[in-house]
Symmetry: C2
Subunit: 380 residues, 2 copies
């Protein structure tokens, strides 16, 4: 058979570390499966000799035992398999193999040149600190809720939170474009409310509406939000695709910070033998896509992430990764004064503290409650 | 506290059956958690009295034991929580609760009026049969691969498959817009190749390019494909969001059948205590969104779906669901003559048989191989 040449292969590769369950023999078989399945998806013996088996098919670069019946396989892929396209990059990393139990993406290892094709977060930690004027403490964020309130009522909440000094006031991720609280009215009222409060206080609170929306509507809602004076975007990549984060972050017409929310993504991390690691999904991938802050449930709350998993996310947010900026881990849930101290010990000062019910429970006055939690954070 | 009224609530509700792991006490607690988490995400005792707790919060309508330490909870939601918006519908069904281990969406029960707001599949089984002219046997589909081939080479494959009478010739889901096989060139060449073959044979083979692409590019690629003469679209909703299926299927400018591919969705079904059931994800949701065919790995192949899970998908494709058309289950992998007979016993005649490697392995001549498998199907 003639040797088949694939034009334009640079020789550069990116890698993925997969955790693989099984005996050594089983795990090696699975690694073989992965490197073919994620690229050519074709019987190896039927591939035309040449660049396809030699370069296009994934390569097993390293294989080590990492636990009882658990192995780590480092598999590299030609950068040309994924182009400069985040969607296809995800497809190569975990497309078909997501269907295989016992295979988990532990870590993505992109090469520098590839990282340079992704802009990553526009703001990152430094940019978000500059926007909000918060230099030396964790940022504090809350959500407008409960679902069912009118746009007027959530705007009044936004006003009080902003008066109280909450740095980021976001829509609850369940606020979309419901009849009882339409996107247009909510965004206009809340943006205005936060601006009025800022004019009084001198703070730089920002309002982040939820722009998670039907395909084709996302850019329209983002444009409207920008025009209305919103200070950022909340987005659920699990509902609309991670690439929407990339789209919003790269678009110079928007140029607002993005907070990524984990809705509909939980199934990727509920098994330690399938899916993606917390580090890879909520740290690396959100950051690669361009989120400036990544929301996740803090350990010890009403969900089940462990402390180590949360720390993994925080590492993925700030570990060196080419020119890609560091972003804010945004742990949420179950906030109390005691927990804030512990969170600073775990996350340092570079995180966004997401507080929901606690702000409402502390007392009847949302302005006072906000001030109370803000003072507490400033004094830690 | 004054009673808070939410305007515009119709009283109509849709429901979700969740499978919940745990003791009865634990499972009941989880059901309580679900109905709040998926709607108001707010401490119940702090909700304003009135419509929010009474109507907006999910309602536990039924709770039964379905196995040892396993329960089924039927929870209903006001249709207004999700509007007429598939993205927000998914969010209410499984957004935050995806993060909770031990909770699985078994089945979605939409009310008729809600189904009427979704167009669903434009073609469905009957439409796709009409397009391809296949009346009384399963349709046969194959994929252009391996990745690394030029556009010219895959078009030559497409030509041979079409000459041989394969009904649907789709891009492998790994073909995106790589330098070695650009979308534009591939779609032009393959559409042309299939048209030339059809002109010779009198068959009505259709070519379905992969339009899974970056946000904002999907509609452009779909337009190009339609213009070039493609006969349908392949899409990976796991990479770009299920709503893109809805977008493509509703858009009268495109008006081509859609085949949904399971890439990056596997993690939703690898655990039987989290995620979504095969029936709900690959059957109900793909169909609700508007896919005309839903690809999944057949049981007994290189993935791990069971026969029962595959049958569940097939049920989800055709069970009565308002005005929504029935669609084709499209099991793939490991096709042999023996298996085709068995597949007909399991799926009936209303499915698309997806055959990959087998078509290449049977002999060196793809036209002859295609004819061989087609004859075999016709004679079963």
């Amino acid at each position: 058979m003639a040797t088949y040449r694939v034009p334009g292969l640079s020789g550069e590769r990116f890698s993925v570390i997969y955790g693989i369950a099984g005996t050594e023999t089983e795990a090696r078989e699975r690694a073989e499966h992965i490197r073919h399945e994620q690229t050519v998806e074709f019987p190896p013996d039927l591939l035309p000799a040449g660049d396809i088996p030699d370069v296009v098919v994934g390569r097993l670069e390293d294989f080590t035992q990492s636990g009882p019946n658990y192995y780590q396989a480092l598999i590299s892929y030609a950068v040309e398999t994924a182009g400069e396209d985040l969607v296809q990059f995800l497809n190569v990393v975990f497309g078909n193999i997501s269907i295989k139990p016992g295979v988990r993406v532990e870590r993505i290892v992109p090469p520098l040149s590839y990282l340079n094709t992704l802009r990553g977060p526009r703001f990152g930690q430094d940019g978000l600190r500059a926007l909000t004027g918060v230099t030396d403490r964790p940022l504090i964020c809350t959500a407008l809720k409960p679902m069912g309130l009118s746009a007027e009522a959530v705007a009044e909440q936004a006003y009080q939170f902003a008066l109280g000094g909450i740095d980021i006031i976001k829509d609850d991720h369940g606020l979309a474009d419901q009849k009882f609280c339409s996107f247009d009215e909510r965004v206009a009222r809340c943006s205005d409310a936060v601006a009025r409060a800022n004019a009084k206080t001198g703070f730089k609170s920002i309002y982040m509406p939820n722009v998670t929306a039907p395909y084709g509507e996302i850019q329209k809602r983002s444009e409207k939000a920008k025009k209305a004076g919103a200070g950022g975007f909340l987005l659920c990549p699990g509902l609309v695709g991670l690439d929407v984060v990339r789209y919003l972050s790269e678009n110079d017409d928007f140029a607002l910070p993005i907070m990524a929310h984990p809705a509909f993504l939980g199934s990727y991390v509920t098994s330690d033998q399938n899916g993606l690691s917390h580090y890879a999904l909520f740290g690396q991938l959100m950051r690669l896509a361009g989120a400036d802050a990544t929301v996740f449930p803090n350990y010890g709350g009403r969900f089940s992430f462990s402390k180590e998993e949360c720390q993994g996310i925080a590492r993925g947010c700030s570990e060196a990764m080419g020119e890609i900026k560091s972003i804010f881990p945004t742990p949420g849930g179950g906030m109390t004064t005691d927990r804030a101290q512990e969170m600073i010990e775990v996350y340092g000062k570079d995180f966004v503290l997401l507080i929901g019910g606690g702000l409402h429970r502390h007392g009847p006055d949302l302005v006072e409650n906000s001030r109370y939690f803000l003072r507490m954070l400033e004094n830690l």
